[in-house]
Structure formats: C-alpha cells, structure tokens
Amino acid sequence: MSRNLDRETRALADAYRAGKVSRRTFVMRLLAAGVSAPVIAGLAREIAPAEAADLKGKVRFLVGPWSDGEVDHHKHIAEGFNALHPGVEFDFRLYQWDTAAQEINTSVAQGAHDIYMTTESSYPDYESGNGFADLTARVNDASFAAEKAKYLYWDRTQSYGPKILGLPISWHVEDALFVNMDMVNAAGFDETFVDKWETFHDCCAKMTKKGSSYGAGFGIQIGGYGEWYQVLRGAGGSYLTDDKKAPNVNLPNVIAATERMAQLFKDGIAPPLGTYSYDAAPAAFAAGKLGTLTIDLAATTALPNPVPFKWKLLPHPPGPVSQVNFNDVTYYMVNAKSGDQDLMWEVTKFWTTGENDAYWADNSGTYPARTDAAEKGYGKNAAPQLAEALPVYEKHAVGLENFAQWADVENQAEAEIQNCYAGKESAADAVANVEKIVKHSVGL
C-alpha cells in the first residue's frame, strides 16, 4: 500500500471506529481508493468483527444491459458487499431490452432469479400479480425511515397501488433528442430550433444531404418505445381517459401530429424505418450521419469519448397541446419465490445506496433515483450533457398511465404507428387502429 493510501485507510478506519462514517461508506470509499475487496474484508473484520460474515447465501440477479460494462458494474458493487459479507455469492445475468418483459415474467414464474431490474412500464401489471415480494413493510419500517427519505419517486411508485414492490434506482428519459450542434449551426439554426415544430422541420430538412446524412433520426428506439406516446401526449391524447373508462386516442390533434411525423419520412428527412438499429444508431450519430437522434439516454454510453463535434441533449419540439418528455423509473424488485427474503432485502438496499446508485447510474447513462447521488459521486463518468439537460427534461416530464395493460398497448401502438411512418397506412387509420388496440387490450 502506498503511503497516501495507507494514510487514507487509517483515517477512514478511525472515522469508522468513531462512528463518523457508516460501514458501507467505509467499504465503498476504500474500494474507490483502489483497495482490494479481500483486504477491505480483513480490515472490516478487524475493526468490527461482530458485524461481518453474518449473511450467507446466493443471490441471482437478472438485469438490463444499460451499457457494455453492465455486469462489471454489478461485480464492482458485489465486491463492496462481499467486503462486508463474504459468505454471499452473486450471479449476474442480462436480459435483452426487446424481450425484457418476457424474460422477467418467465424467470419470476420459474423462480430462476432473486433480484430483478424492472421498468416502470410493467409496474401496474406487477402490482396486480404476486410474482414480486411486497416490500411495503420493510420500506415503511421505522429503522429504514431515514434511508427511505433519500430515495426519489415514492409518490409515483405508490400511485400504482398499495404494495411497494421495489426500490427505485433511476429516472430515465426514454426518447431524448441527441443533437449534433455543429450540423444545426451549419444549417443556420441554434438550439432554439426545437422550440417550434416548423423550425425543427426546417432545420432537419437542411441537415439532410442525400446519400450522406438525415436530419431526423426517428424510428430507431426498440419497438419505438415511447416515441409516438410523446406525440400522443403532446397532442392532448392519452391511451385512456382519466377515469380509465374509454380510450382517448382518436382525436384530430393526434392525427395531425402523427401526420406531420409521417411527413418527415415521406420527405426523406428521416431515414426509412429499418435503416439503423438501436445498436447501430449511436455510431451513425457519432459519424455525423444523423443530425438528430431520438433514443434513450443510455445511448450516451455508446458514443465515442470525445464525440468529434459539439452535441447536446434537447427536448422534442412541442406538440399541438404541450411539450412532452416521456420518462420512466427503474427498480430493483425481489422474487417472492426466493428463499431468504432478509438477505434479498439487505442486498437490494445495498445496491441502491447513494454510492452504489450514483456509481451505477453514472456508468449507465441515466439519472440516479437518490437525493444524495450527486454528493456520492454521480457525474464523474456520465456525459456532462446529461446533467445539463436534466432541468428541461424534468420540466416536460410525463410518465406512463396507470393501468395494467399499458405496456401491452404501448408495444402494439408503436408498431401500428410505424406502419403509418412506413407509408403503409394513413395517420387517421393508424390512430384509429391504436384506439382499437386500446379497447381490445383493456377489454373496453
């Protein structure tokens, strides 16, 4: 150990002994300083032997691939946990985004994993089922009150029903607008081009050069997730009315807003659907082939560092009724079938501490769901554009609607609207079909 590291370790150990820092903080700071997990485990045992080695078992995670280093990030967090509890083994498996719901549902039913990274889109469905453990009593326990206060989005989480099924880890913008500001400026515009649809259209048209670049990179998000939903909400629509008794889709404003989106494809300003996949699009943006790119914020981790031009994250242009930014919350949930629920709770808490949430979100291209994330290290690795854009995204934030078939409707609706973008049907027909989908899925 170098002299500096030795000094730092001693200072931390003293602070820990004196009760000035928590055990977790002690371990995570040592890890951050580069001390190996076995050494930390030894130190922790030496300082407070009674607290160590109390938990035993195996914890199997099923998580989403936010970045190429997803599993490594979890292994890093696991090292910290093992420094405190060496008797716990971990296994990390990834699901794929486009089959996430299926993989999670099947795994939960089979009891194949213990802790799941889940998205808010399925929360209403999970709330009505029994697959995930009800964490309400644990979350509302007095001993957890101080920690609970540091998590964000409890109101949103509790709006889905009486059961709290997970601890939030991120607030994610699903359809951010990545903008190549060099191309925008070269087209004679500045970042205010997104303030009006007309200027957005003109700017994208000017950024389009036949055979080399497209101005509007739409239709790339997997399954179009949330892309048209923003259009729907921006046009004053929603899948269901507030009382959830009727669809609220087939409105003149919604048809008009869909038609103008389709016009981007007809005019050749947006690449034909299928030109770029979700994985290939960030590289196309970085190569200057797309002036703007609509994709979720995790794409920031797929961009080269540095990006060879000035770029920004901006909101989408306003719809006929309002400006909308669709986002959702991500959670860790525990399989109700898992044997040692106390162990799972300890692990879930550890994975969502300020340090760990900050570390994971910082490397995953998303916003953490903790009030203390910034002071715990968030922002070291994340693209600075993320922090810059947060206030704007929060200002226009719209989440999903609270009914169990929302994700089902969303999947089918986006595909139906893409038929319109591909010129296979009119905007009016596509919107009418979405209304039918809502009725059929919800059973109206």
Binding site: N130, G274, A280
Partner: protein
C-alpha cells in the same frame, strides 16, 4: 423324466410335444415378452409424444377458452377469443405476412435444393466437401443466422451494400418495411436449401441408371430425361419436401424476432410472432394467443390436405 404338462407321444420316442394348454401359455408368454420389448422401445417416443405434443395441444385447447395470463391465473370465457379474432388489429397483416413468406421461400428452397442436388449428384471427386459446404447453413441456429445477416445488411458497412456500391449502385435499406419480409424469406432459403438438397441428392443417387441409359439410347435430351424421368421418380420426396417446408414456412419466428423484431411496424410480424407477443408481452392474452395457435394448426392441416390432394397421382397413391 417328463415334466407336468408335457406329453411323450407314442411312436415318436424322444420327441416332446406340448399340450395345447401349455402351448397357448408359452405362446402367450412369448407374445407378451415380444410386445413388452416393443413397448420398451416405443415407450420413450410415446412419452415424448404425450409430453410435448398431446398435452400441449390439449392445454392450448383449454387455454383458448380462457382469458388472463399464465402466471396470474385465468377464467373461462367460452369462444370469445375466437369471436374476437377477425376484428383484431394486426391479425390480417400477420396472416398475409406469413403466407407471403411461405409463398416466396418454399418454391425457392425446393427449386434451389433440387438444382444444387442435381449438380452435387454429378460430382465424382470431393463431393463430400461440397455437400458439407451446402449443408453448413443448416447447422447455423436461426438466431445466429439472423445476427450474421444483421451485419450483412447494415446500411453503411454490410456486404450487400458494399457489393452494390462496387457496381456503382446506391446502398439500400434491406430491412425497410418494403424489403424486410423478402429478405427474411431469402435468409430462410439460405438456411434450408442445403437441408433439402441432401434429401434430393440421396434420392437422385438411388435412381435406376438403366432407365437413363435407355433414354439416352433413345435420344432423349438432358431436359427430357429430367422432365420425364428424374422429376417423376423424385415425386414422392418432392411431395414430402413441399409439405414439410410449407409447414415450417408457416411457423417462421426466430429470424423475424432477432433480425427485424417483427418490424418495421408490423412488416415482418408473422402469425407465430403475434402469438409470442400475446403470450409474453401481454398480461391477459394467453387465451387469445392459444386461439390463434389453434386456428393456425387447422390452417396447416387444411393446407396439407390440399397439397396432398394436388400432388397425389391419378391412381391416388402416395
């Protein structure tokens, strides 16, 4: 000493004759042993047949009368799921996509396989190497094949567009709404030609050579020999290939999932893909998906019967 039940007959000293009752007992025992042995061999197959075909089909019939999901439970709705089928958004396009896919891929596979087989059957040296090369795509799992083709069709660096650029043509979006289904069919052809080519090669090698020698002596052209000898003689195997490849064609799923995710829009959403979506992406449509599956089974059965009738010879054989 003669044991009970066995009689020494007069005039046939040294020969033992079984009483009729004992003969029947032993015959019964031998038959039972033979049957048990037979069932021991057949048992695993019947078990698999029961587990993986009969029970799932019965389950599908039961599910088709329910609504809800596999995990959360269901309730009986009678024939509602079937009644809703015609009005379902996307049902028509899924059926159309599936039929178009089969109509493109099945003839191409069979014609291609026959052509390849005719060439392979004439190779005298190193034939096994060529047969392996032709068969190789069959060994590639659908998911891997789709991933390979994802790279081949990339707009910027894919092989297909590089070839177009080499000929001075503009790159095209291979996975666009207009092209994706055709491309999936071509991928299916690439994967399956080798499989059926091996069947045809085996059949062609086994054809009686004296017929061809006689035809040659009679002055029959190559085309005439193919038209009036090879094709009729291969009719049974072609008949089998048409039926099986059509059934497989109507069940396309894995490549559509990986290569295009059913899109763009619903351009490559096939019937099975739609079933999969309803089972795994919906929280209350397992019954509906089962109803679609049953309809597909009936359609496949009907198509197979039609094909059998059309392909059957005049004497009604095959």
């Amino acid at each position: 000493m003669v044991e009970s039940g066995v009689t020494a007959m007069a005039g046939t000293a040294g020969r033992l004759r079984l009483s009729p009752a004992e003969h029947r007992r032993l015959a019964r025992k031998a038959r039972l042993k033979r049957e048990l042995t037979g069932w021991m061999f057949l048992g695993p197959m019947f078990l698999c047949f029961l587990l993986f075909l009969v029970i799932p089909v019965c389950g599908t019939v039961w599910w088709s009368l329910q609504t809800g999901n596999i995990v959360g439970g269901t309730h009986f709705v009678g024939f509602d799921n079937f009644a809703q089928l015609p009005d379902t958004v996307g049902a028509g396009s899924a059926i159309a996509n599936t039929l178009i896919f089969a109509v493109i891929s099945v003839p191409l596979i069979l014609v291609g396989a026959l052509a390849v087989a005719l060439v392979l059957a004439r190779i005298e040296h190193g034939g096994s190497i060529y047969r392996f090369l032709v068969y190789f795509p069959v060994l590639v799992p659908g998911v891997v094949a789709a991933l390979i083709w994802l790279f081949l069709t990339n707009i910027d660096f894919g092989l297909f567009n590089n070839l177009r650029k080499a000929f001075g043509l503009d790159p095209i979006t291979w996975l666009s709404a207009d092209n994706a289904l055709g491309l999936l069919a071509v991928l299916d052809v690439w994967r399956n030609v080798g499989y059926w080519a091996m069947f045809f090669v085996a059949a062609i090698i086994g054809l009686p050579t004296e017929l061809y020698q006689a035809a040659e002596l009679d002055g029959a052209s190559v085309w005439a020999r193919f038209r009036y000898l090879t094709l009729p003689l291969l009719r049974r195997i072609i008949f089998f290939a048409v039926i099986v490849s059509t059934i497989w064609g109507l069940q396309v799923f894995d490549t559509a999932l990986v290569l295009t995710n059913g899109g763009p829009g619903t351009a490559t959403t096939t019937v099975i893909y739609r079933v999969w979506l309803f089972v795994f992406q919906s929280n209350n449509k397992v019954g509906f998906a089962s109803a679609i599956s049953l309809v597909l089974i009936v359609v496949i059965l009907a198509l197979t019967l039609v094909q059998m009738r059309l392909l059957r010879d005049r004497r009604g054989i095959d």
